[in-house]
């Protein structure tokens, strides 16, 4: 490949005017910054640029031939759409070189408003497959900040297949969970990591517990900070990075000082220039490397650039954590809900609402059907030691459900990288013969594939982060028939979305939910032995993280070796069903439950939904039902995000 100065872009973070000047002076090709509104660094009021300063910053950058991107990368609720429209028209006038976006509604607004400013997909969009990229390209996205979990090899392939510009985090803070899919802070604190307010539960200390014995797995425990990712640093791997075809090298740190940003930009600038001038004769500058080391906060790792780094990417001791943002708290129980019935814009329907149940095995299909489930979700991730759904068990579940007039919808994994997409092609094609009643997808890439390969109705899972009616409209436009609302949305936000959306909305009312999903295998990193190809205990035992509030978070290890870290309490909205009147689609997330519990939950929810339909305002909830559920539930029950009036 013939390289020029324009082959790669060094992209620096900017939080204040000082940093802007420093980054440009140090040789950044482009900078990114946030306005005072709608971006991922909402905690600090003295950072970010107000509208006037934004204009000046753009002019300043352009006068130095530097590109400037504005982050507009929050999820937004229906309340915020008008402000977003106004903000976008301001940005259209100011003409930055691109907007970095997360919420699907911005794509919808960009069409409606004929925006000419280029759009880049934020890391928060969790883009990790070529099919997702193609759909984003259809909507005018010209660049994707790809998942941190992707390796350089995967990026090269992605770029080759789609032609998209690829931006990659090459230096700075990392998340252990998949970006845009981490619900921990949002649900527990009402402060969403998808809205720039993450309180970093991944930086809490945890003990690993063997759930079979209930005891701490202390053998060779390297330290309590089991989720604390080290900082990314690709300085020593610049040649591989450049040759992979990544076009924009992104430095993390919009809260950093001018000095800090300047140093890092200078070091990478020199390396890039030296490499491009003479690739074969290039060697890294060891003094610069030492400088980076000396001024580091956390230790460095190349993270996922060369494949899954395992325990090497975790700073277990916590010694070098620069600061903490919170400590573990006891999750909300069933007290103090903020659900206060609102008058909805839609008239209450006479037909009883539909109850769907997600299950892990055939016995649970039967239990759910016998007790009144109308829809059964099968497929997707299995939690070891459970086995994944096979084509044959899916076919059997359809046969079984048919006897009860229930429908079977097949779900697909939440994260679908190259491997999973390849498998999905086979899977979707097979579904044309097996004929379930529908497909539930978890990301826009899987959606595109499902569309291409099958004629079945497709619905969108909660991982689409649907928070507002415009995002729902976009999903309708790309062929979605039903969408599950974001698990971070609160009562008010859900009812507003429901009132404004013409797309059928499904609400998860009960279940064990995952706070984080990560490619890092937590027990594997601690227990896997290097010399062995296979560690059988990982497939047969259940592990959990014990936090400092004394709560256990089960780790569900799936067939792709991803860890799904559950909340310590299971969501339960049973006492509040009446407040959701009008919503016609409810779901129990039961894939981690026994068939017996599935039966009881399905019967209980079905009975209460029917009573509400029949008795209307005369309905009274019998609290004894809750006591029964609490005694048989594997974990305590809680309100999740419904502790909060609004999700901030």
């Amino acid at each position: 490949m013939l390289l020029t100065r324009n082959s790669v872009e060094l992209l620096a973070p900017v939080g204040t005017w000082d940093v802007l000047e420093a980054a440009i002076e140090a040789g950044a090709d482009a900078v990114y910054l946030g306005g005072k509104r709608f971006n991922m660094r909402m905690f600090k009021t003295n950072a970010n640029f107000d509208d006037e300063l934004l204009g000046k910053a753009i002019a300043y950058a352009h006068s130095h031939n530097v590109r400037l991107y504005v982050t507009v990368n929050n999820l937004i609720n229906d309340h915020e759409i008008d402000n977003m429209r106004a903000y976008l028209s301001l940005l259209e006038e100011l003409k930055p070189d691109a907007l970095i976006i997360q919420d699907l509604s911005i794509l919808e607004l960009a069409r409606e408003m004929n925006l000419t400013v280029p759009l880049h997909a934020s890391i928060m969009m969790n883009t990790h497959n070529e099919h997702a990229v193609r759909t984003l390209q259809d909507y005018g996205i010209t660049r994707v900040v790809v998942n941190r979990e992707m390796s350089l090899d995967q990026l090269a392939l992605l770029k080759e297949r789609t032609g998209i510009e690829v931006e990659y985090f090459i230096h700075g803070d990392m998340c252990i969970a998949h970006s845009g899919q981490c619900l921990h802070s949002g649900v527990v604190f009402g402060q969403s990591s998808n809205r720039g307010r993450c309180l970093k539960p991944c930086r809490w200390p945890y003990q690993l517990i063997d759930m079979t014995t209930g005891k701490t797995v202390s053998d060779q425990d390297p330290g309590p900070y089991k989720l604390a990712m080290k900082d990314m640093c690709l300085y020593m791997n610049l040649p591989e990075l450049i040759q992979s075809g990544v076009c924009s090298f992104k430095i993390e740190g919009r809260m950093r000082t001018a000095d800090f940003v300047k140093n890092i930009v200078q070091v990478y600038r020199r390396a890039i220039d030296n490499y491009i001038a003479d690739p074969t004769g290039y060697t890294p500058n060891l003094k610069d490397w030492q400088d980076l080391q000396d001024s580091r906060a956390r230790d460095f790792s190349t993270c996922y650039a060369f494949g899954n780094p395992g325990p090497n990417s975790i700073g277990y001791s916590g010694e070098r954590e620069p600061r903490f943002f919170s400590q573990a708290v006891r999750e909300a129980d069933m007290k103090n809900p903020t659900i206060k019935p609102l008058a909805t814009a839609k008239s209450i329907q006479e037909a009883p609402p539909e109850l769907a149940v997600r299950v892990a095995d055939l016995a649970s299909v039967t239990a759910a059907c016998q007790n009144g489930a109308a829809i059964i979700y099968v497929g997707g991730e299995a939690a070891k030691p459970s086995l994944p759904w096979t084509l044959s068990t899916i076919a059997q579940s359809i046969e079984e459900a048919k006897q009860y007039n229930a429908k079977v919808v097949v779900s697909t994994p939440r994260i679908t990288m190259e491997r999973e997409c390849g498998e999905l092609e086979h899977f979707f094609t097979s579904m044309n013969e097996i004929k379930p009643h529908g497909i539930m997808v978890s990301n826009i890439g899987a959606l595109r594939l499902a569309h291409q390969l099958s004629n079945l109705p497709i619905q969108a899972d909660f991982s689409f982060n649907i928070f507002n009616h415009l995002s729902a409209k976009l999903l309708t436009d790309i062929g979605i028939r039903k969408a599950t609302v974001s698990l971070e949305a609160t009562y008010e936000q859900i009812m507003e979305l429901f009132a404004k959306s013409s797309l059928p909305i499904e609400l998860i009312v009960h279940g064990a939910l995952s706070a984080m999903v990560t490619d890092h295998s937590i027990p594997g990193a601690l227990l896997g032995r290097q010399e062995q190809m296979y560690e059988p205990t990982l497939d047969t035992r259940h592990y959990a993280l014990l936090d400092t509030a004394g709560q256990q978070h089960p780790i569900m290890l799936d067939q792709y070796n991803r860890s799904h870290i559950l909340f310590a309490k299971d969501l339960c909205l049973l006492p509040h069903l009446q407040s959701f009147q009008g919503i016609q689609h409810y779901r129990i997330e039961g894939q981690y439950y026994s068939p017996k519990l599935i039966g009881l939950l399905t019967a209980t929810y079905r009975q209460e939904l029917d009573k509400i339909t029949n008795q209307k305002s005369a309905y009274v909830f019998d609290t004894a039902l809750l006591d029964t559920l609490a005694t048989v539930s594997p974990r305590e029950l809680g309100l999740g995000a419904f502790r909060y009036r609004v999700s901030r």
Partner: protein, 289 residues
């Protein structure tokens, strides 16, 4: 033309730097500034201080106690002006406020316990049982608790709630006595950083928090009486002027905050079913909604 080094722990304290520079400019003092910021990483400070020493600065303006300590550890005889150091004597930076005795002087960010207690009384006139939650490993916190013990007004019972490590906050409900009317958070990093965990628990029991760290107010504390860092920096400029004109820091008394500011959070007040007095609202520098 002087050469002045600025040793900063975190950009959160940059208002003090702006005030300092402005104060010197107003006094007609021109200087070349060398700014070093550890970005929160205190381990970096000795190295950054050494860099300033190499630049042969005439004076170091040190923000925070660790920065000042790093500047004082230099073997060179460079005078140091510090702020918003909470407890200059207790942390060993000076011998006494009136006669520092070493190479450092400055302006302390400490607000007297009397003033804070008076503020708490005005904010919540009916408070009887006041909790004070503090980290036993933090010298600033310990100093403030000590001050509170000394100046307690009749009618208020101070209930001390010590904890030894940050993770203890995870079980705060077990630490909080039932009879509390309000919770005061003294200066101290662990309490300040982990404020969301404290507020998470106090929210459910409708317990008002009076904070000492400004960002904790916008994050949900009911109010705080705080030092204005810009003003502290400006006051430091007069100390610097004396030194640059030949006085020795050992003889320049350390000042403390002159005009503390009131910060209030009205959203929190509404959630607690409280209303601020018109007087307090008028006096407040900032009211968060």
């Amino acid at each position: 033309m002087y050469t002045i080094g600025i040793l900063q722990l975190t950009q959160y304290l940059d208002d003090a730097v702006h005030g300092f520079k402005h104060g010197l400019a107003q006094r007609g003092i021109t200087a070349q500034y060398h700014y070093r910021n550890a970005d929160g990483n205190a381990m970096q400070l000795p190295k950054l201080a050494a860099e300033l020493a190499e630049l042969k600065v005439d004076l170091i303006f040190a923000c925070s106690t660790p920065s000042t300590q790093a500047a004082l550890q230099l073997t060179e005889d460079i005078p140091v002006v510090f702020t918003p150091v909470f407890d200059p004597v207790g942390s060993g930076l000076v011998h006494s406020l009136s006669l520092p005795g070493g190479k450092a002087t400055g302006v302390s960010g400490m607000i007297k316990a009397e003033a804070k207690l008076d503020f708490i009384h005005r904010l919540l006139p009916t408070v009887q049982n006041l909790g004070i939650l503090y980290h036993t490993g933090d010298n600033n916190s310990l100093a403030e608790v000590d001050n509170f013990r000394k100046f307690l007004q009749p009618g208020i019972t101070l209930i001390e709630i010590p904890f030894n490590q940050a993770e203890d906050l995870s079980n705060l409900p077990d630490l909080l006595p039932i009879e509390l009317d309000a919770l005061f958070l003294p200066i101290g990093r662990v309490v300040e950083e982990n404020f969301p965990t404290i507020a998470y628990y106090t929210d459910t029991i409708q317990l008002p928090i009076i904070a000492s760290h400004p960002p904790n107010v916008s994050a949900g504390a009911l109010g705080a009486l705080v030092a204005n860092h810009y003003d502290l920096g400006e006051d430091c400029a007069s100390k610097a002027e004396e030194i640059l004109k030949g006085a020795h820091p050992r003889e320049i008394p350390v000042d403390i905050v002159k005009k503390p500011e009131i910060l209030l959070n009205n959203y929190t007040a509404q959630n607690l079913g409280l209303e601020f007095s018109a007087e307090l609202l008028a006096e407040a520098t900032e009211v968060f909604e």
